[in-house]
Structures are given as structure tokens and as C-alpha cells.
């Protein structure tokens, strides 16, 4: 089920937008303050110039400072923005020598200015003013008192300059974002090109083309391409297994059928009823074996291809093991062998599964052990509780199988290199299929002495599933 969850473009756009927004806010705040600083510097120097111009006009007459305010100083103060202007010249006692507005200069400001020139912001009649004060050491013949010069103006020019600088910064930023967006779109087209190429290649592929991909992909897509490749490989393997199974099955069926044909032809050529009886007996036995083979093939095919699970139930594995083992132990075929149970866990152990399939599984395992071990062999079944899994095992002391074939034993028609038995080679394949259906794991290994041990690990029924 393919669910379309937005587009890559919108995802990228969202992240771009989010990043740009956060960064943008920071940048704009910074831009605003730096604009303000720049405007402040520009206009503060005008205040300084005006104060200097006024300082030039101060002279001493009869022990008193006298100032003839220069028009130029006022024009410098007013600036291009026609600010309202303030100036005051104070003597050493803080008395106004000359001045235009009644902006009071508090003593602490005067003290501060006496040490160094100072810029201040002040509110006068509801308007923001920027003030600058500096002290002038000027000497007359009678007195050598310092004189303070204060100048100031309103701040519309600063505000306008700040606004202008800020607007420029914002404009630059917006253009940058737009360019980045366009570049991002282009980059996305370029970056997504390999995906597009791969898609086209997959679309052009034939249905039964299982060859590995032949595509040039970037590092980020390597994993996906490899996954696709391995998917193709598994499909190929599955197909090959199916073909092999079909071929093997045909071959397996062909041999007894050919035997039947030969036996019946020989019987038809003979006139002896004894020969007929002999042939019929052979035909009967062979047909029985063939029918068993066919039924096993059928059950294997059913197990492998029945995708939907049939009704599963909560099953006590211990009871089942018990029951099945005793059932088999009483059969005629097992009279030559010693079938027994190892000590089992006392309490019932529950797993989720299909009872018939599990019975089939155990049956196949026991049947297998009976067929591939010489008479008199000991066959032991048992169970072990692990932390995560419940282990069922079957062990024999037969001849065992060569280690190199252990891994293939579950394949159909694999007889562990033995041709001397009547087995079809399908038993373990069926077991394997059932194990897979129960999400369990099968492990085939050599037993401690000799012989074979097959261990099955089943997951416990979890609390959730118990309900």
C-alpha cells in the first residue's frame, strides 16, 4: 500500500522557510540595532561639530564668559532633517550664560560632563531629544573657570536614517531569500534527477527481468538501490527454487510411475496369475508410496503458498508434544526404534499456532528420524524453556549427516546424501514451512555423539496475545 505523504519539494520548502524565518528574525533584529548605531554615530558627530563651533565663539569679558551663538552651529544642529535645536552655555556655577530652551541640566549630568564629553537621551515635553555636553577650559585674564556647552536636537533624522538603513537591510535579505529559494528549487531538480532516472529504469524493466540494477546513483541512494537489488535477487532465487521444486517433483513422480508402467507391462506379457498377483502387489505398494509422495507435495505446496493464516489458537506445547510422541510410539512403524521423551518443564507452555500443523510438524520430524536411522536407534524428544523462546527438539543417535549438508537439509528432495531410504525428501521441507508459518526458527545440528539434532524455537504467547 503506497501512501503519498506530501512532496519532497514541500518538505524542503518548509524546512527552508523555518530556517530562514528563525535566522531572518535574528538577522533583522541585528540589522535594526546596527542601523540604529550607524544613524546614531552619523548624527552624534553633528552634535559634536555644533558644540565645537559654539566653543569657538566663547570669550571672556570682564570676568564673565560671553558667547555670540554662531548661526552655523544652529544650522549644523538642525541638520538636513530640520530638527528642533537646543543649546545652552553654562558657567562654572551652572548658571545659564546663553541658551534657548528650558531643558534643565541636572547637576549629576554636569558632573559627568566635567570629566568627559557625554551623549544623553532625554525627553522634553513628550519629545525625544539627543543631548551632547562637553566642557571647555577657557582662560580669561581674571578667571579661569570651565564653561559647559550643551547642545541637542530632536531625533527624526536619526529615526529616518535608521528606517532607511533598516529598509535596505530588509530588502537585501528578502532578495537573498528569494534567490536562495530559486536556487533551492534548481538544486532539488538536480538532486532528484537520480531518483527520476531510477524510476524510469524500473518502469522500463520487463516483468521477469530479475537481473541486478545497472544504475548510477549517489551515495545517499546506494542503500535503496542495493535493497532493490537484493529484492530482485530473492525473487530470482524464489523463482529458481520453484522451478527446481517443480522439476524435482516431476522427477520424483516420474520414477515410481515408470516403475508402475514397467511392472504392469511385464505382468500383461505374462500369463501366470501368480505373476499378476506379484505385479499387483508391487503396483499396490508403489501406488501407495506415490500417493503419499503426492500428498506430501500437496501439503508442502499448500503450506508454502497459503498466505493467509488459518485459525490459530492458544496451544499447550507440552500437552501436544506428549500426545504426539505417544501416538507415534504406539504405531507399528516405530516398533523397531526407541522413541521417548526427555524430562519436560512441569507447567504448561503456551504458544500461538495451528494444532494440525504442529502435529504434522512433530509427525514429520519423528517420521524422518524413523526413516533415516537404523533400527534400534534411540529417538528423544524434549523441550527447554529459554527466556524469549520455547525450544522443542528431537535428537537421534543415528549416523547423522555430513556437516556441509546440514544447511540444505530443509530443501525439498534433500535426503542428506542418502538414497537408501524410502523417504521422499520432503519431510524437513514441510517442517521448515510450518516453522516459518509460526514465526519460529529451526536449527539443524549434529548431536553430541553422532546422529542429528533438530531444534525449533517458538516465541512464547505474549501477554497481549493471551487476551
Amino acid at each position: 500500500m503506497i501512501e503519498v505523504d506530501g512532496t519532497l519539494k514541500s518538505r524542503l520548502a518548509f524546512w527552508l522557510l523555518a530556517t530562514v524565518s528563525v535566522l531572518g528574525v535574528l538577522l533583522l533584529v541585528e540589522a535594526y540595532f546596527s542601523s540604529q548605531r550607524a544613524a546614531e554615530r552619523a548624527y552624534d558627530s553633528q552634535l559634536e561639530a555644533a558644540a565645537l563651533t559654539i566653543a569657538e565663539a566663547i570669550r571672556w569679558e570682564g570676568g564673565q564668559p560671553v558667547v555670540e551663538i554662531p548661526s552655523a552651529a544652529l544650522q549644523i544642529l538642525a541638520t538636513r532633517h530640520q530638527e528642533r535645536v537646543f543649546y545652552a552655555v553654562l558657567d562654572a556655577k551652572g548658571q545659564t550664560v546663553s541658551g534657548n530652551l528650558d531643558i534643565g541640566i541636572p547637576p549629576e549630568w554636569r558632573r559627568r560632563v566635567s570629566s568627559q564629553p557625554t551623549w544623553l537621551n532625554d525627553t522634553y515635553h513628550g519629545t525625544q531629544w539627543r543631548l551632547y555636553g562637553r566642557e571647555l577650559d577657557s582662560a580669561g585674564w581674571e578667571t579661569q573657570d570651565p564653561v559647559q556647552i550643551w547642545v541637542g536636537h530632536t531625533m527624526s533624522g536619526r529615526d529616518a536614517l535608521t528606517e532607511m538603513l533598516f529598509e535596505q537591510a530588509v530588502t537585501r535579505f528578502v532578495i537573498m531569500v528569494l534567490l536562495a529559494g530559486i536556487l533551492m528549487l534548481l538544486a532539488m531538480r538536480v538532486a532528484l534527477a537520480p531518483i527520476r532516472r531510477l524510476r524510469q529504469q524500473l518502469r522500463r524493466r520487463d516483468a521477469d527481468d530479475m537481473r541486478p540494477l545497472d544504475a548510477r546513483v549517489p551515495e545517499e541512494m546506494r542503500e535503496m538501490a542495493e535493497t532493490l537489488d537484493s529484492l530482485f535477487m530473492r525473487q530470482r532465487d524464489g523463482r529458481e527454487a520453484l522451478l527446481r521444486f517443480t522439476a524435482d517433483a516431476s522427477h520424483q513422480l516420474k520414477t515410481p510411475l515408470a516403475g508402475l508402467q514397467t511392472t504392469s507391462e511385464l505382468a500383461l506379457q505374462s500369463d501366470s496369475p501368480d505373476a499378476w498377483r506379484q505385479a499387483l502387489t508391487e503396483v499396490h505398494g508403489s501406488a501407495g508410496r506415490t500417493s503419499r509422495l503426492a500428498s506430501q507435495l500437496l501439503s508442502l505446496a499448500r503450506l508454502r503458498h497459503a498466505v493467509e493464516a488459518s485459525a490459530t489458537a492458544r496451544i499447550d506445547a507440552m500437552a501436544l508434544l506428549h500426545e504426539t510422541t505417544f501416538d507415534w510410539a504406539q504405531r507399528d512403524v516405530s516398533q523397531a526404534h526407541d522413541i521417548g521423551l526427555a524430562s519436560l518443564p512441569a507447567s504448561p507452555q503456551y504458544i500461538q499456532g495451528e494444532a494440525w500443523a504442529l502435529r504434522e510438524l512433530l509427525g514429520n520430524l519423528i517420521d524422518n528420524a524413523l526413516r533415516y536411522t537404523p533400527p534400534g536407534s534411540v529417538i528423544t524428544l524434549g523441550a527447554v524453556c529459554h527466556a524469549q523462546t520455547l525450544e522443542l527438539y528431537i535428537e537421534d543417535d543415528g549416523p547423522g549427516v555430513p556437516p556441509e549438508t546440514l544447511a540444505h537439509l530443509h530443501r525439498p528432495f534433500e535426503r542428506g546424501g542418502r538414497q537408501d531410504t524410502e523417504g521422499s525428501g520432503l519431510g524437513l521441507a514441510i517442517v521448515d514451512s510450518i516453522v516459518r508459518r509460526h514465526e519460529a526458527r529451526m536449527q539443524v545440528e549434529s548431536a553430541q555423539k553422532n546422529g542429528l539434532k533438530i531444534r525449533l524455537f517458538f516465541p512464547y504467547l505474549t501477554q497481549h496475545e493471551e487476551k
Binding site: 560671553v66 558667547v67 555670540e68 551663538i69 554662531p70 548661526s71 552655523a72 552651529a73 544652529l74 544650522q75 544642529l77 538642525a78 530640520q82 528642533r84 535645536v85 550664560v97 546663553s98 534657548n100 530652551l101 515635553h125 519629545t127
Partner: protein, 363 residues
């Protein structure tokens, strides 16, 4: 006028819903002759019949004092004392006007979009016919100085100019003169030497000229002098050939104007095409707008006298003129220079005139 008022009231009585608009007063405090401004005021009343205009004609000093009156502020303030107007605007007594007319107003004739110079009045010399019988009338400031020096005895007591002490306009003009050249002080000395009479306003100077008391006047408002010369043939007006100052009357809306809407309407009218057309056509105040046609426009004046017109700059430098210490220093120097070569005993007449307080002083 009364009949018109009655008719207006009767008409508004019929139009009851609009009656509320009729009671829409507007108070203008102005240093501007009512007779000179009458056509302008009539035109305004005709254009805005719902505004009840109260035009108070006062001296510049009184107008300036009214601005700071907390209890009863005027709506619009008009004055020719440019530095004082500027100082009031700097103190924050004006409010912005953001109308199209204000936006279109030339930059050199406004400040902060709060105060507007709406007239363009050249400063001139005026002389009586008698003068030309004795000597060549002056054409420049240098001519005037030469004349005063060479014909000191002939001109004794026959020259008049503004009193810088009693007239804000006169003080501003002398300050501006002194800014252009230090030779101005030679002129002051020469005027002092001829016992020049110091008047408080242009009208007094013009009357003296017509009566024959004076032969020569310096720094008269050209707007009044030109009109006077038309009806008094014995008086001649000379726009100085070297440079001629130009004074602008400045108007602003008071920050605490009780009727701001009406005040804006009034200023818009003053600065607008209609008001400036009336100024150019029916008053001698000279229109500033270049797109207005009439006998009294700045453009026409420039065409007549060339590029020698020097408008007093309408900017922060004007504030220096009202600086108390600068004013004291200027007046000290004026007194020194004026009395440097003066007659041992100061003229009695001049002292009498100086002490007289005229309602229309400083205009």
C-alpha cells in the same frame, strides 16, 4: 458686511442641519495690517462660509506673547518677526501640516512642514523727490553710505530707518545686513552721524516721507512702500541694486489650536492656489508660488530686479538672532556705532519717537 452676516444667519437658520457647521470659529493672531490683508480674508470667508474667522491684528511682540498663552491659545499665528516665529516653532508650539498644498510648498520657504513663509516682501529704500534735486538718489548700499558721508549736513535729520530696539522686523533686517558685510557698521555710523530718525514701522516712515519730514528711508517693507508710492507721487521706491533682502511672513498652526480643522483649512487656503492668487492680485504681499500669475509675485519681482533678491533664509540660523546674549551684543554695538560720530546732543525728536509705544510697532 452686517447685512451679509444677517443674511448668512437667516440662511443657516433655514438649513438647520448645517447650522452646527456655522458655529465653527477660527482665531488668527497676526502681525499683518488688516487693510492689506482684507482681500485675502474676504476670499477665505467666501470659500469657507461655515468658518467664523476672527482676525486679530497685533504687533509682533503681542503676537509672540499670545503664542505662549496657555489658557487661550490662538489657532493660527502669523508674524513678520521671522526669528521669533522660528523660536516658537523650535520650542514646539507648532503642529505639522501634511496637506498637498503644504507638501508642494517650496522647501526654502518652510521649516519642518510646520511653519510656512507665505509672502515674499522685498526690503527697499525710499526717497522723496526733494532728495533728487540736491543729489543723485542712491541705488546701492555703497551709494547710500557715500551720500550720508558727503551730504551729512544736508541730510541731517532727514533720514529714517527701523529702530532695532522697538521693531523685531527692523532688528532682523539689520542682523541680516550685518551678516553680509561688516561695512554695514560704517553705514550705521554714517546714519548716526546724520541724526537718523528711528521708526517702529514702515508706515511711520512712509508718512514722514510724504509729509516732507524725511527725504530718505532705508530698509522699508517693499510691500507697503510700493502701494504707498502709487498713491503718493512724491515718494519713489528703489530696490537696492547690489542686494535686496526679502522678508517672508511666517504662519503656523498652534500646537494647542482649539479649532485645528479650521486652522488647517485657513493655512491650506493661504498656501493654496486660490489664496496665493489673491495675494498676487489684490495685496502687495507678493505670492511665493511660481505657478500663480499677477502683478505681485516673486517671479515677477525677480524678472524686474534680477537675481539680487536675497530672501532671509528660513532655517535654524534665524534662531541665533533671538539669542539674548547675541541680541545684547548686537544692540551694544549698534549703540556704539550709531553714536560714534553723533551730534553731541542727541536729537530730541528721535528720543520722543523712540519712547512712543505704538500699537503697530515692530511691524
Amino acid at each position: 458686511m452686517p447685512i451679509r452676516r444677517v443674511a448668512l444667519v437667516w440662511l443657516l437658520g433655514l438649513l438647520a442641519p448645517s447650522f452646527a457647521w456655522a458655529d465653527n470659529p477660527l482665531v488668527v493672531e497676526a502681525a499683518l495690517d488688516r487693510e492689506v490683508a482684507a482681500p485675502l480674508l474676504d476670499a477665505f470667508e467666501a470659500a469657507h462660509p461655515h468658518i467664523q474667522l476672527t482676525f486679530r491684528d497685533r504687533s509682533t511682540l503681542e503676537v509672540d506673547a499670545r503664542v505662549a498663552n496657555e489658557d487661550n491659545p490662538p489657532d493660527v499665528v502669523i508674524s513678520s518677526a521671522m526669528p521669533w516665529q522660528m523660536a516658537r516653532v523650535n520650542e514646539g508650539y507648532a503642529q505639522r501640516l501634511d496637506s498637498p498644498a503644504a507638501q508642494a510648498w517650496p522647501e526654502w520657504a518652510k521649516w519642518r512642514d510646520e511653519v510656512f513663509g507665505f509672502t515674499f516682501e522685498p526690503i527697499v529704500m525710499a526717497y522723496r523727490l526733494d532728495l533728487s534735486r540736491h543729489m543723485l538718489p542712491p541705488k546701492t548700499h555703497a551709494d547710500l553710505h557715500t551720500l550720508l558721508t558727503q551730504h551729512r549736513e544736508t541730510l541731517r535729520g532727514k533720514v529714517t530707518t527701523y529702530s532695532p530696539l522697538r521693531s523685531g522686523v527692523g532688528y532682523s533686517l539689520f542682523q541680516q545686513d550685518a551678516r553680509y558685510t561688516t561695512r554695514f557698521w560704517d553705514l550705521v555710523t554714517a546714519m548716526g552721524a546724520t541724526d537718523t530718525h528711528l521708526e517702529a514701522n514702515t508706515r511711520a516712515m512712509l508718512e514722514g516721507l510724504s509729509e516732507g519730514r524725511y527725504w530718505l528711508g532705508y530698509n522699508l517693507l517693499g510691500s507697503y512702500a510700493m502701494v504707498w508710492a502709487q498713491s503718493h507721487p512724491e515718494v519713489f521706491v528703489q530696490v537696492p541694486q547690489d542686494y535686496s533682502l526679502v522678508m517672508m511672513r511666517m504662519a503656523f498652526i498652534h500646537r494647542d489650536a482649539p479649532h485645528p480643522a479650521a486652522a488647517r483649512a485657513f493655512l491650506d487656503f493661504l498656501l493654496g492656489r486660490e489664496g496665493q492668487r489673491v495675494i498676487a492680485g489684490e495685496t502687495p504681499l507678493f505670492s511665493v508660488r511660481p505657478d500663480v500669475v499677477g502683478p505681485y509675485t516673486a517671479q515677477r519681482l525677480r524678472d524686474q530686479v534680477g537675481e539680487r533678491l536675497y530672501p532671509i533664509p528660513l532655517n535654524a540660523s534665524l534662531l541665533a538672532f533671538v539669542d539674548p546674549s547675541r541680541r545684547t551684543a548686537f544692540m551694544d554695538r549698534w549703540q556704539r556705532e550709531f553714536h560714534r560720530l553723533a551730534h553731541p546732543e542727541p536729537a530730541q525728536g528721535a528720543a520722543a519717537i523712540e519712547s512712543r509705544i505704538d500699537k503697530r510697532s515692530q511691524r
